[in-house]
């Protein structure tokens, strides 16, 4: 009887200890939980699964107006003239002597386009565009790069379905492999480009 009770008791203790270790109880108890408002305001870096994307929508047609008003001053009327970095064109140029790197030819994720415009553009008024405006101007730029159609409407769901032409142009295919690489040597002499 004793033996059985002990064997029942021990695993329970071990489990309880594991639970405590997993939960990593706070050591210093410094700091406070954020408010809902703080989380909403600051949790807005958008990742590839789009969890942080807000409601709203826009298409290339509306985006053309946003572009003309907010972007063309630096990026040029057609998104190709500059003086700020070129936004349109360059697909199929990457392996040539003069690769043209644009969000259309080079950037692997459409969420990156949305996120960069949303938080870092336009210069000197960063973060001033509404979600609708960001969806719209993203749609406009993807349309001008022949990645979506003019009538396509982008929102938190459709943005994730956009297939960027250079999605598989980076290596190693899984960045986790690079993260664990303890060697300074660039990876490209060992790794193969990601396959489609």
């Amino acid at each position: 009887m004793r033996f059985i009770r002990a064997s029942l008791f021990l695993p329970a203790t071990v489990l309880a200890m594991c639970g405590a270790a997993m939960a990593q109880s706070p050591t210093y108890k410094v700091g406070r939980p954020p408010t809902e408002a703080e989380l909403r305001a600051w949790d807005n870096v958008v990742g590839p699964d789009g969890k942080e994307l807000p409601q709203g929508s826009g298409s290339a047609k509306e985006g053309a107006k946003v572009y003309a008003g907010k972007c063309s001053f630096c990026h040029g009327q057609n998104g190709t003239e500059g003086p700020a970095p070129r936004l349109i064109g360059g697909v199929d140029s990457l392996s040539t002597r003069n690769p043209v790197l644009t969000l259309g030819s080079f950037w692997p994720y459409a969420t990156t386009v949305w996120d960069y415009i949303n938080r870092s553009m336009p210069r000197d008024a960063e973060g001033s565009l509404t979600p609708d405006q960001v969806y719209a101007v993203t749609a406009y730029l993807l349309y001008k790069n022949d990645i979506i159609k003019e009538a396509d409407v982008l929102d938190a769901k459709t943005l994730l379905k956009v297939q960027m032409p250079n999605r598989f142009g980076f290596f190693p295919a899984k960045p986790e492999a690079a993260a664990k690489n303890g060697n300074w040597k660039p990876n490209w002499n060992q790794a193969k480009p990601a396959s489609r």
């Binding site: 706070p26 950037w107 990156t112």
Partner: protein, 453 residues
């Protein structure tokens, strides 16, 4: 401007003194008439926060040909880039006022530390917000680490420098613009004090499937970067102090990340948010740039770690040797992986190498100062250094880097015709750590022999 002339004058003086000693002809009477200290007769000034002597003029320089120059319509205020005058460095610490900086399009933030908050959220059991005061109550560390921009030493900086001089058509600019600073000056070392990020993450309780962090700054363009959680739990510092005082505004006041040994873009300044996640976020600075393209059009991403690298900082192309005789070759070595264990110097174009003396103690992921006495015979020669870290990684030549970067030509073009190499692979730019040879001319001039070969 840190002009060639003051250095040259200083050197001529010291050279003359050395020459006098060498032949034993220094007149004793003249030695006795050495001037004493003159009092500063200018109106008294506030000495409560010190400044250097008015005779010192070493300064950071700007990158030539940056976006500010080409978009004149934008209002001023962007931080731009400022480059460290490595040619004037001594020891291993960079003065905070001379630490290199890049703004990546942001204007200089003006943050009241009483208002600043750091939020840890995402895949944690207890999302937390810290004030600066609260962060300073937690256990702190002080560590000496270098920070280097991933683009440092890249060919594009050499091209921008040459182009900038051409555009300005300014002889003065030519005299005050050096490869040692304009091409290599995106690296500096400080003592950083703050809380280990691992302390904050443990306090918040990282959940089981988490694997990455996304750090965000409070600067105007919200600079952000994905960092593997493993690194965040290792040696990342959330720093509020630099070289014994508050972090400077251009360095991220009041709070920045220091990610030891990893590309500079990881060291998020004005740090306000760290989100714990389970995927990299493929942000602009880890996809659209800071990725390295190979000749076949495929680009390498998420590389992080700076390779072993060294530079002779004296003599370099900012200096002029006054004549043959004894000099101390001095330079800096650093590695993103471990400590520097060896620096070799060649003064004959790589035919033979001698071990330089390493300043002790040697810190991991920090500048290591090396020194070697050199008796210059007055003939033209190439001087260069190469370093090895404690894992045996050796700094490569430009030619070896070219092969590593996918230049399949035999022999590789890099090294023999660097310009052609870069024209055919124009954006393989990051993590550039080639051996830098300096050409010493018979007239005592020192010139870059890496890019201008």
């Amino acid at each position: 401007m840190n002009s060639r002339n003051p250095n040259r004058r200083g050197f001529l003086k010291r050279g003359a003194a050395l020459a006098g000693l060498a032949v034993g002809a220094m007149p004793f009477a003249r030695a006795q008439s050495l001037p004493g200290a003159a009092a500063d007769e200018r109106p008294p000034k506030d000495l409560s926060y010190g400044e250097r002597s008015r005779f010192e003029n070493s300064v950071r320089t700007v990158t030539l040909g940056g976006p500010r120059d080409i978009i004149p319509g934008l209002p001023a205020g962007e931080m731009g880039q400022r480059l460290t005058p490595l040619q004037d460095s001594t020891g291993i610490i960079t003065p905070s006022s001379l630490h290199f900086m890049t703004g990546r399009g942001s204007r200089l933030p003006d943050i009241d530390p009483r208002e600043h908050r750091l939020m840890i959220h995402g895949m944690v059991d207890r999302p937390l917000v810290f004030t600066m005061e609260e962060l300073k109550r937690l256990p702190s560390v002080s560590r000496i680490h270098f920070i280097e921009c991933a683009g440092n030493s890249g060919m594009s900086h050499y091209k921008a420098m040459v182009k900038g001089i051409e555009v300005a058509n300014s002889p003065a600019l030519t005299k005050s613009t050096f490869v040692i600073q304009q091409v290599h000056g995106r690296v500096s070392t400080s003592e950083w004090t703050g809380v280990l990020l691992s302390v904050l993450l443990k306090e918040a309780g990282v959940q089981k499937n988490a694997s990455w962090l996304v750090a965000e700054g409070a600067d105007s363009n919200r600079h952000s970067k994905s960092i593997p959680l493993e690194k965040g739990m290792d040696d990342v510092i959330v720093a509020y102090s630099q070289n014994g005082e508050a972090v400077r505004p251009e360095q991220g006041y009041p709070l920045r990340m220091v990610v030891p040994g990893w590309e500079g873009v990881s060291n998020v300044k004005y740090l306000r948010s760290i989100k714990v996640v389970d995927t990299p976020y493929y942000l602009k600075v880890e996809t659209a740039n800071y990725t390295n393209m190979t000749p076949d059009g495929k680009a390498s991403w998420y590389e992080f770690q700076v390779g072993p690298k060294s530079l002779i900082t004296f003599p370099s192309d900012a200096h002029q040797l006054p004549g043959r005789g004894l000099f101390e070759i001095s330079g800096l070595a650093w590695s993103g992986r471990g400590a520097i264990s060896r620096v070799e110097v060649s003064t004959n174009g790589g035919k033979t190498w001698k071990d330089a003396q390493l300043q002790q103690p040697v810190f991991r992921k920090a500048f290591t100062r090396f020194r070697l006495g050199w008796n210059w015979d007055g003939e033209e020669t190439l001087i260069q250094s190469r370093c090895t870290n404690e894992f045996g990684d050796v700094q490569p030549t430009m030619r070896q880097l070219g092969k590593l970067w996918g230049d399949k030509r035999e022999p590789p073009i890099a090294g023999s015709d660097v310009e052609t190499f870069w024209q055919t692979a124009p954006i393989m730019e990051f993590f550039s750590n080639p051996i830098q040879p300096w050409k010493v001319g018979r007239d005592g001039s020192v010139q870059d022999a890496l890019y201008k070969s």
